[in-house]
């Protein structure tokens, strides 16, 4: 017996394959891909591969830094702007596994618009990620988001916003809460938004976005607290929940466990683990075909 064959706590591989898992929140080298632009990213992806295989994932979506000022490394930022081939390395190394949504810096609207055109209009990226920390973090109710959302809507880009409700309040001025994302989403009712981490403190997070039908909730980024998925399905419907793994800094156990261990129907698990993300990506995948 080799450890890769051990399946304790997991459904059988064929059942996992049946879920057709598409991970919307894969975070290798999340803060910085390494000084050469890819080494730490590659290391973290390879570190995640045993879990990816064990979970029978079909696709994972990560968030590359493309030079809009989302890291504190000026040298890397310049390299990212001048060497698009560097950004593409992971997608070329794992073409059947990886999808990408670029990290944006709403403090710099012109650079972010350029990046949207460069990476979404011209491909191959499928959406954007607004971080909750680092130099690119900005509370999502800020007017700077408006031109970015308008352009993203034109391109059918997916919008993922990092959110947390933290006991004791925000730990950084650029953080966003689910309530703030609900405020932004109300300005653009035709555009879908993804509330990453369900707000962390999900009992408040789910309530905050309940009346915003254009917001989906992403499931990763906090302990495998029991009852989260059940409440989200009850209050939002399974169609508004999207699986994320947060690998490798979180784990297959924590993140997949939330869904497979939930007392919900198999149909709902299938929606959450892949179908909803595929549906969200369908418009932009169509335009890039």
């Amino acid at each position: 017996m080799i450890p890769a064959d051990i399946q304790l706590g997991l459904p059988l591989p064929e059942q996992l394959q049946g879920y057709r898992i598409w991970d919307s929140y894969f975070t290798p080298a999340y803060s910085h891909p390494g000084p050469d632009g890819s080494s730490e990213l590659f290391t973290d992806i390879e570190r995640s591969l045993p879990a990816i295989r064990k979970g029978q994932f079909e696709k994972l979506c990560y968030f590359p830094h493309v030079g809009t000022g989302t890291t504190n490394d000026a040298e890397y930022e310049a390299l990212a702007r001048s060497s698009p081939e560097m950004i593409l390395k992971p997608l070329k190394r794992w073409p059947d596994l990886l999808l990408g949504m670029i990290q944006l810096n709403p403090h710099n609207v012109p650079a972010s618009l350029d990046a949207i055109n460069r990476w979404l209009r011209d491909g191959p990226m499928l959406g954007v990620y607004f971080p909750g920390g680092g130099p690119g973090a900005m509370t999502c109710t800020h007017p700077n988001f408006n031109p970015l959302v308008v352009r993203l809507a034109e391109l059918n880009g997916v919008i993922m916003q990092h959110t947390w409700f933290k006991t004791g309040g925000k730990q950084g001025p650029g953080e966003s809460t689910p309530a703030e994302l609900a405020e932004l989403s109300a300005r653009y009712p035709q555009q879908k938004f993804v509330c990453a981490h369900g707000g962390g403190e999900w009992e408040r997070g789910i309530r905050a976005v309940r009346n915003s039908p254009n917001i989906l909730v992403e499931t990763s980024g906090f302990d495998a607290t029991a009852g989260f998925i059940e409440m989200a399905v009850r209050e939002l419907g399974a169609e508004r929940i999207m699986f994320g793994s947060h690998l490798p800094s979180r784990s297959l156990g924590t993140e997949l466990g939330k869904v497979i261990g939930a007392d919900i129907s198999e149909r709902d698990k299938k929606l959450i683990l892949g179908e909803n993300f595929r549906n969200l990506l369908r418009p932009i995948l169509k335009t890039t075909e």
Binding site: G9, L12, G253
Partner: protein
């Protein structure tokens, strides 16, 4: 149904033939491991701030059984905030008595008057093999004299001590009940003068250098319930001497599947190491406890 003592003896025996079944060419009914997993960290009854899907003991035991967990060491959520600790422990003992998989681990709050009597009841009346402490919820540190005295008495009674580093991420706690994680630095010094003491740290997220210092301290053990990252458990196992890490799920607050998957998902731990974490090491903590 297997009697608790039989389960226990199976759990702590070394060299038991076991196999983790391959996942190919088998049915879901075959999906159980052939060895007995011991979960050193579960709790019974209601979490004070939320209903949990498995907060009924029967439902919890059924789920643990379905995951191949043969034995679970159960504390009580009631012991966190309630002050009638004797009543808390009585209910826990009653709930575990007729459920063969459950081993009751009583709560003690050394900030309460006459806590020694609660400890005596745990050991003499309920015959519990260990006790569980919540210093952060009960308002004391590991430097307090009452804690030292408690470790001394529990050790002289042959009992192990579990200390919950946390019950919940500080970022998600109720605004009116904000509780920092326990500081374990004083334990390094204390354990040097507490010969024979066995202390397991639950729900921790310890990092070097304190993790390494605690690992070098004889008698200190660790559970896996909140050790996250795809290779977090193997890293913990490799950071401390053999025998110190044992499986714990923190169910039903956390989903038990999560902790089980995390032990093996990276493929780093060899089969023998998995066995020690999932079962054998719990025997070392249990030691020669006469229950």
């Amino acid at each position: 149904m297997m009697h608790r003592r039989q389960v226990l003896s199976l759990g702590i025996s070394t060299g038991i033939a076991f196999a983790l079944l391959p996942t190919t060419a088998r049915s879901a009914d075959d999906a159980q491991p052939r060895f007995r997993i011991i979960d050193t960290n579960i709790s019974l009854f209601r979490w004070p701030f939320r209903r949990l899907p498995l907060d009924d003991p029967d439902a919890l035991v059924k789920q643990l059984r379905s995951l191949g967990i043969a034995q679970a060491w159960a504390g009580s959520f009631e012991g966190i905030l309630q002050r009638d600790i004797a009543g808390v422990n009585q209910r826990l003992a009653d709930a575990c008595r007729n459920r063969a998989e459950l081993i009751a681990v009583g709560s003690i709050n050394p900030e309460l008057p006459d806590w020694e009597n609660d400890l005596r009841r745990c050991t003499e009346e309920h015959n519990m093999p260990g006790i569980r402490l919540h210093p952060n919820y009960h308002g004391y540190t590991l430097e307090d004299p009452g804690f030292n005295r408690l470790v001394e008495l529990a050790t002289s009674a042959g009992r192990f001590i579990q200390i919950a580093a946390a019950m919940e991420d500080t970022r998600t706690q109720h605004a009116l009940v904000q509780v920092p994680d326990v500081n374990f630095a004083p334990l390094v010094k204390l354990m040097k003068v507490m010969s024979g003491a066995r202390v397991q740290i639950l729900n921790h997220n310890l990092r070097p250098p304190l993790l390494l210092q605690l690992g070098e301290t004889p008698g200190v053990f660790f559970d896996t319930a909140r050790v996250d990252g795809t290779d977090g458990v193997p890293q913990l196992v490799q950071s401390v001497p053999p025998g110190r890490v044992m499986f714990g799920s923190h169910a039903p607050f956390l989903i038990p599947e999560a902790a089980l998957i995390r032990v093996h998902e990276s493929g780093i731990l060899e089969e023998a190491s998995l066995w020690t974490v999932l079962s054998e090491n719990a025997g070392q903590l249990f030691g020669n406890t006469a229950v």
